[in-house]
């Protein structure tokens, strides 16, 4: 589902965020991306969501070579990759419902179908009763769950999460990780960046460790 072939990312500053990364995630696999701050976790996820483009090597997602994707195809690619951020990136002048509906509205889905899907997503993250409130009145954990609901509402085959529990206490963090494991059980391919090794070690999932833009260790590496 996701494949990196000798990928490097050099930023405009000349700094290499990633260098020579080889990686392969099977469809339906779940993996964690760890490493110290500045190791390149965010950079790797951005290359998958095409928020950045690789400067060397090739990135494949869902059978497509992202290097060859034209600019006008990028939005359609992003619809297949749900992205979750540490800072949630919610629209604060829109209700929880409207925030979660955004990917569906953008894709031109009809009102009835949008309502049905948004309610299903709210149900999955346990926020069914909060659909009419604004994000500002939610706790950090709830806001993060709104972000997760938005990422999964369009049922993308790939979910990416960049430090999704970065601002949450251990209890809430565990709940969020359990949520991800549930999604993985229904076949979603997940890649979650976190520096909280303690939190993820109990889950028994593949762990890819980055250091200075290179893969330093990969518990599931098989070539």
């Amino acid at each position: 589902m996701i494949r990196f072939d000798n990928v490097a990312k050099r930023y405009a500053t000349g700094h290499e965020g990633l260098s020579g990364v080889d990686l392969h995630l099977e469809t339906g696999e779940m993996a964690f991306l760890t490493g110290h701050s500045g190791a390149g976790k965010s950079t790797l996820l951005k290359l998958i969501g095409l928020l950045e483009r690789a400067t060397r090597g090739q990135v494949w997602v869902n059978e497509r070579n992202l290097n060859k994707l034209r600019a006008r195809d990028v939005p359609y690619h992003r619809r297949e990759v749900g992205m979750i951020f540490q800072d949630h990136r919610l629209l604060h002048d829109r209700t929880v419902f409207d925030n979660i509906a955004l990917p569906l509205v953008v894709a031109g889905m009809g009102h009835a179908e949008v309502t049905r899907r948004v309610r299903a997503a709210l149900d999955k993250v346990g926020l069914l009763k909060k659909d009419k409130v604004f994000p500002i009145s939610l706790s950090g954990g709830e806001q993060q769950r709104v972000g997760i609901a938005r990422a999964l509402v369009s049922k993308p085959p790939v979910l990416l999460a960049d430090e999704p529990t970065g601002n949450l206490d251990p209890e809430l963090s565990r709940e969020i990780m359990d949520l991800f494991v549930q999604f993985n059980q229904v076949g979603v391919t997940l890649l979650v960046a976190t520096h909280d090794v303690e939190l993820i070690s109990r889950l028994g999932k593949r762990i890819i460790k980055l250091r200075d833009g290179r893969v330093a260790a990969d518990s599931g590496a098989d070539g």
Binding site: L51, W60, R64, N65, P75, Y76, R78, L102, P103, S154
Partner: protein, 319 residues
């Protein structure tokens, strides 16, 4: 390398019905957004309205003056130069004949001797004239056409008919006043055209700047929409509709301004026309002014928004 072959494509929504439906929703949403800040919306629209009303109103005015110049009786006169052989008595008969015509309001005879007197008085060549052994000037009948002779063409036809009289050597239409007025209105019309182009540019800049600010205000929203897979067309659309609405509102304001001005001017103009025994009154809106506002406004709004969106939307990229 099988993987290098063609990539699997993306599914795109190409259903025209849903596409139209989304457009309708989007246009109403844009209008709703504008109506939530009515003061700033109306102020922008008013500036556009004035910019549209000015050239339209001036064009209307010039158009009316032009009609005025062709309908004002007394604007044209015809000078009938009589043949040399025509005696003073015959000349008086010619004047009577001409004066009886229904298309003539007044005919005045200037006899050969009167013409000579006038020439002496006005030209300063009196001494030279004395040297000639006979009066070289012809008798002239000055004709003022009846009010029924409305325009320059009709006066021209009338002159041609008069030319057929045996005693009349030359019938010359004196259209100086009309021609001058025509030249002036032509120049003003050109000036109005230049003004219209400049103001159209101003409308483009106004809408462009308003939309640019709007893009800045909604920076994070645009970013997030791009993150979740919004196409450029999708992101562009509300801003384009915004420009369109601004243009439409501006056009409505311009129309109101021009109609109000017409209404206010109607009374005084009719009184003025009355003084000159003219039946002239201000025209209703001519098609060029009307379409200039109603089509030009929205088109300029859309174009201004398009310019802003093209320049500024690409700069917003999610991180």
């Amino acid at each position: 390398m099988a993987r290098r072959a063609r990539q699997p494509g993306f599914r795109r929504n190409r259903n025209p019905v849903t596409w139209l439906l989304r457009h309708a929703q989007m246009s109403l949403a844009s209008l709703g957004r504008l109506s939530r800040s009515p003061v700033s919306t109306l102020m922008t629209a008013a500036v556009i309205g004035i910019a549209l009303a000015l050239p339209s109103g001036l064009h209307l005015l010039v158009d009316n003056v032009r009609q005025l110049s062709s309908s004002w009786d007394g604007s044209a006169s015809i000078s009938l130069f009589l043949a040399d052989a025509v005696s003073d008595e015959q000349a008086a008969t010619v004047r009577e004949q001409v004066a009886r015509r229904p298309d003539v309001a007044e005919a005045q005879l200037i006899s050969r001797s009167a013409a000579l007197d006038e020439f002496r008085r006005l030209s300063g060549f009196g001494q030279a004239i004395e040297l000639l052994d006979h009066n070289p000037l012809p008798a002239v009948v000055l004709v003022r056409p009846a009010p029924t002779v409305q325009d320059a063409d009709a006066v021209g036809r009338m002159a041609a008919e008069l030319q057929n009289y045996r005693e009349i050597e030359l019938a010359q239409v004196d259209l100086q006043w009309v021609e001058r007025l025509g030249a002036i209105t032509g120049a003003i019309e050109r000036a109005v055209l230049i003004l219209a182009v400049l103001l159209a540019g101003a409308v483009l800049l106004i809408v462009g700047n308003t939309v640019r600010l709007e893009i800045q205000n909604r920076h994070s929203e645009i970013e997030i929409v791009k993150l979740v897979g919004g196409t450029d067309a999708f992101i562009r659309r509300p801003f384009l509709y915004e420009g369109l609405w601004y243009g439409l509102l501006g056009a409505a304001i311009a129309l109101t301004l021009v109609l109000t001005a017409l209404y206010l001017l109607d009374g005084p103009v009719e009184r003025l026309a009355g003084l000159y025994q003219s039946t002239f009154s201000l025209d209703v809106l001519d098609p060029i002014s009307l379409f200039g506002m109603l089509i030009g406004g929205p088109a300029l709004g859309l174009a201004g928004a398009w310019l802003a969106v093209g320049r500024h939307l690409a700069q917003v990229q999610p991180e």
